[in-house]
């Protein structure tokens, strides 16, 4: 499998990347989803803008009560970060579930979120953690709450000339969290990925990857749980996916099982 001819540009700063993207082009970060789809010619951008070597996109730090992860951080860097393990173990655990070491060493959180594969692990994690996706484009910087970020199958609120620069996550004292994943056996993407953050006061946020064509916060389940009721069925009103590995019915069943397991883990 060989790609078609395309132009390649490498940006050395966010500003340069944005100006290159504005000229037409697709951002290349780790390339673990983009390059294979180009080899299969399912995705055929004319120009790739490599954002993989922009220093500003790297780094993980605290800013007040927020953990700030550079959009170019690899899954491996997040999984191995002492700071993430300490402040937001949900992200360290979740990142460790992604792919295999080769994938984790190349793939980035920003790239994964921008690609918005409904079965990827990051969507459930950022949704449950109430993260904010910070993006920069020709019109400057804006912050998109994770809950507004995923707009459909492989679609996001990101404009073509925008780059994910940071993921900012509130660190909640006394909270508990978990990510429970039932992996599709071949791809190891999530058939069901259930992320829960339970705050010190017992309020939970519950998000799913892999279940519907768009990753989602299950507000019905949250509402029930936060008013002391049983969670009720997962995925009401969602477009539940069906494929060779899980029919719609089985997927919903799995989602309910994994919700239970996640709730037990944060009990």
């Amino acid at each position: 499998m060989i790609t078609y001819p395309f132009d390649y540009k490498r940006a050395s700063s966010i500003a340069e990347a944005v100006s290159m993207l504005a000229g037409g082009g697709k951002a290349l970060s780790g390339g673990h989803s983009l390059i294979p789809s180009m080899k299969l010619r399912l995705n055929m951008p004319d120009t790739l803008v490599d954002v993989g070597r922009i220093p500003e996109l790297k780094g993980i730090s605290m800013d007040g009560d927020e953990l700030v992860i550079g959009g170019g951080s690899t899954h491996g860097e997040i999984a191995d970060s002492q700071l993430v393990k300490e402040k937001l173990s949900l992200f360290a655990d979740g990142a460790a579930h992604i792919g295999d070491p080769a994938v984790r060493n190349r793939g980035t959180i920003g790239g994964s979120l921008a690609h918005a594969d409904p079965s990827a692990d990051w969507p459930a994690l950022v949704l449950a953690a109430n993260a904010t996706i910070v993006v920069t484009g020709s019109n400057g910087e804006r912050s998109i709450p994770a809950t507004d970020f995923f707009t459909g199958l492989f679609s996001t609120a990101l404009n073509d000339d925008e780059l994910i620069t940071q993921i900012r996550v509130p660190v909640l004292a006394g909270s508990k969290s978990t990510y429970q994943k039932f992996a599709q056996p071949a791809s190891r993407y999530a058939l069901v990925g259930c992320a829960i953050v339970k705050q010190a006061d017992g309020q939970v946020s519950v998000a799913f990857s892999g279940v519907a064509d768009t990753p989602f916060r299950d507000t019905d389940v949250e509402g029930n749980l936060n008013s002391g009721k049983k969670p009720g069925p997962v995925g009401k009103g969602q477009s539940i996916m069906s494929d060779n590995f899980a029919s719609e019915k089985y997927r919903v069943h799995l989602a309910n099982v994994y919700l239970q397991r996640a709730l037990e883990a944060v009990a």
């Binding site: 499998m1 039932f182 056996p185 791809s187 060779n244 899980a246 069943h253």
Partner: protein
């Protein structure tokens, strides 16, 4: 003779180049002026080629030629190498696979090629192929074997409206089996599918055709398991070029599992095109093409019944199977469901009456042919699923039921071989012993206690058994000839002692992961009593050796190794004459050991190296004896070899999700004598992974248009290390009585025994939890197991 190497786990000498990335595979070979080919393939499983427009593609810079079906109309299609006729006597229907589909004709599976683009680079060839405009008329298609037989099924070949390639029956007459079954106290009946799997060798197929006008000679580099066989098929049946003008080289080959035995259209096309253009042409399959165009394995739909008397003795076995051949008959395809499957239905049991009724059908899918085990895994799956299910149904212990029905031990020397109801005569076997050992390793009594205890903790555990026998060391030529093979299945070897006493061994066997460069050299070094470093193995080049039949059917050591031993015997016989002459004594007084000939009862001796030098510098030499020390041999086995064993799986099933976790995999195999235990263990491990893969993970999924919907590793699940437990293996040795090394073959055993053990374990787990499914479709995905528990 010495005993320095045989039986030792010598590290594989070939691994240095493989592990350091220095193996030389076909795709690594770059010839001067080499061009690159890319195929335009049918996106439909069944479609008429209405029109093909090459203008735009031909105009692309760097494109050298584009050939279509009309250009290669004079080239014969790829033939089949085995003929099995209808029971009515009607000849097997044998539509040849055209090189490229001509205009007006129909593509018969997704991936069937319609044009080949040849360009200066692979990139250009791929880009130009996108510009080839093909107008198709899509037609209805059928993928599943049982569906192909329905009266309104789409026809694969217009001239064969019933979609049958042939039908076949084997064993005892059906009336006798019916009569036996009528008296049975219990009949266990099972309908199941042995699903289609994709071989997935790590190295995809790759070929370079190179025609040299100066010498009027062709060279084909090919990722094959049998270079000579490819040469024979391609020269004599496809291209019609003289065999002595063709050299076929199989360099390092990264796995085959059967899929690289067969002759493929792409091999002949790069060779033919090279002659047209006068330049070498390379084609390397990509993984997506491999899913669509490599011959697949298995694909049987079966109804099987096993009858028992009131005491639990098997009284009869009655089987009806439909086997999928795909769209065309691949090289060995007809043999797989018949003579490599029907002949194994005796299993390890004394079943007195057996009949199989087999229908082999065409479908709009790529060809199905031999895949690791080839027919024997299907037979083992059938028998062993029936045995465990029968035990559950009759409330018997599955191990006890087997002990009761086993053929008693026979060594093939003191006791004769065992004559089955299905033609074969087993060479030697001791079936009780492998099951006993397996039960010991399992800790059977403890397991049942643990199973009960686990159930109280809401966990479902299960154990599954499989005891198998297979036919390897393929095969006695006269026997297979009488069964329809169009080739002999001997092997040849040449042992050339160089003047310095170093030894080059040429074998027709082909190593593509089996470790021949180590195992064969261990044998030669010990037989000659010289260091392994003094012996080199040459394989995979049709110019280097007179003939060779290649590697498949766990035959290399049993057949190829035996040919080498024959040559060594000739070397030692001639060497003794030279030694006796040099030592001035009678030939009969010579004895050979530890690399030298000694006059019996004296300390007078001459080394192997001195004799070798004398053979090439024959100044003081036996009168009338030819110089040189170099012998070729052909070895045609007297019988198949019959390895056997016991595989036991322990699984845990997640009650809520249906997910199966394989907790233990025990394998006790008897593959006869063992030359290199580590390599045999490696073969068993790899086979187990593939067999478990079929049980739990692998399998093609076709949609209603016969499109493969899981043709990538994102969707087709190969077993990975973290899916598997640490394997617990042990061995028993019952030597083969009819070949000089006493070896039986180990390449396929793991894949043959393990699949039913794993499925049986899941069924056992579910029965222990009160669910009583007779079958769950393979692969046992979590959803299917969950369904079975609902």
């Amino acid at each position: 003779m010495s005993n320095k190497y045989i039986g030792q786990s010598i590290k594989r000498v070939e691994d240095k180049r493989f592990i350091t990335g220095k193996g030389r595979y076909t795709d690594d070979i770059i010839l001067p002026g080499m061009l690159h080919a890319h195929f335009v393939r049918s996106p439909y499983a069944h479609a008429r080629l209405v029109r093909i427009d090459l203008d735009e593609a031909k105009a692309m810079p760097g494109v050298i030629a584009i050939y279509t079906g009309n250009d290669v109309a004079d080239v014969n299609g790829v033939p089949c190498g085995w003929q099995v006729n209808f029971r009515s006597g009607e000849a097997m229907r044998e539509p040849k696979h055209p090189m490229l589909i001509p205009t007006g004709s129909t593509a018969k599976h997704v991936g069937d090629a319609v044009a080949v683009v040849i360009a200066e680079t692979k990139d250009i060839a791929i880009d130009a192929a996108e510009l080839v405009m093909v107008e198709w008329e899509e037609l209805p298609a059928v993928a599943a074997p049982a569906d192909a037989l329905s009266s309104d099924a789409p026809k694969v070949h217009e001239q064969f409206p019933d979609n049958k390639a042939f039908d076949w029956t084997f064993g005892n007459p059906i009336e006798e089996v019916d009569a036996a079954m009528a008296k049975a106290a219990h009949i266990t009946e099972l309908e199941f599918v042995n699903q289609r799997v994709v071989p997935n060798a790590m190295e995809p197929r790759a070929y370079i055709g190179s025609y040299d006008e100066t010498y009027d000679k062709y060279t084909l580099y090919t990722s094959t398991q049998n270079p000579h066989l490819i040469r024979l098929l391609m020269c004599a049946f496809v291209l019609g070029i003289p065999e002595h003008k063709v050299r076929v080289v199989g360099p390092d080959v990264g796995g085959g599992f059967g899929s690289k035995i067969f002759h493929y259209t792409e091999e002949a096309l790069v060779t033919w095109s090279s002659k047209q253009l006068g330049q070498p042409i390379k084609w390397t399959s990509d993984r997506s093409e491999a899913f669509l165009t490599d011959a697949h394995g298995r694909d049987h739909a079966t109804k099987a019944e096993m009858g028992f008397d009131a005491e639990g003795n098997i009284v009869g076995l009655r089987i009806k199977t439909v086997a999928n051949m795909g769209a065309y008959l691949s090289t060995f395809a007809p043999a797989v469901p018949t003579y490599l499957h029907g002949t194994l239905l005796q299993g390890l049991y004394t079943t007195p009456k057996i009949n199989i009724d087999m229908t082999c059908v065409f479908t709009h899918t790529v060809a199905v042919d031999a895949y690791r085990g080839a027919g024997r895994p299907e037979a083992t799956y059938l028998l062993e699923r029936l045995m465990d299910l029968a035990a559950l149904e009759m409330g018997r212990d599955p191990a006890e039921l087997r002990f009761q029905n086993f053929i008693p031990p026979f060594d093939g020397v003191e006791q004769p071989g065992y004559q089955t109801q299905v033609a074969l005569q087993y060479d030697s076997g001791n079936y009780e012993a492998v099951l006993k050992r397996g039960l010991e390793m399992l800790g059977y009594d403890d397991f049942r206690t643990e199973q009960t205890k686990a159930a109280k903790n809401n966990k479902i555990l299960g154990v599954g058994f499989s005891t198998y026998v297979e036919a390897c060391g393929i095969a006695p030529s006269a026997v297979v000839g009488s069964l329809g093979a169009r080739a002999g299945l001997f092997e040849s070897a040449q042992v050339r002692v160089q003047p310095t006493g170093k030894v080059s061994v040429f074998t027709g066997s082909h190593s593509h992961g089996q470790g021949h460069e180590t195992t064969f050299v261990q044998v030669v070094a010990d037989k000659l009593g010289i260091p392994m470093e003094d012996v080199d193995l040459v394989h995979g080049d049709s110019d280097a050796l007179a003939f060779g039949m290649g590697t498949y059917g766990s035959r290399s050591l049993a057949v190829g190794g035996s040919a080498i031993v024959k040559s060594i015997e000739k070397i030692l016989e001639k060497g003794a004459k030279i030694a006796a002459h040099k030592l001035e004594c009678a030939e009969g007084d010579m004895e050979y050991a530890e690399g030298k000939w000694t006059v019996k009862g004296t300390d007078k001796s001459i080394s192997f190296g001195d004799v070798a030098l004398t053979a090439y510098v024959p100044h003081v030499y036996p009168p009338g004896l030819e110089p040189g020390l170099d012998f070729s041999s052909f070895y045609d086995p007297a019988n198949f070899t019959y390895p056997f064993g016991c595989h036991i799986a322990v699984v845990e099933v997640d009650k809520e999700t249906g997910k199966v976790t394989l907790k233990r995999m025990i394998a006790v195999d008897d593959v006869g004598n063992v030359i290199n235990p580590m390599i045999v263990d490696g073969q068993i491990h790899g086979g187990l992974a593939q067999g478990i893969g079929q049980a739990l993970f692998e399998g093609t999924i076709y949609d209603e248009n016969a499109q493969l919907t899981n043709g990538s590793y994102m969707d087709y699940c190969m077993p990975r290390a973290d899916d598997l437990p640490m394997f617990e293996t042990d061995r028993q040795v019952t030597p083969c009585p009819h070949n000089p090394l006493g070896v039986k073959g180990a390449g396929e055993a793991g894949a043959i025994g393990s699949t039913p053990a794993v499925v049986n374990a899941v069924i056992d787990a579910l029965w222990s939890a009160g669910h009583k499914p007779k079958d769950i479709l393979m692969p046992l995905t979590s959803e299917r197991v969950w369904q079975a528990m609902k």
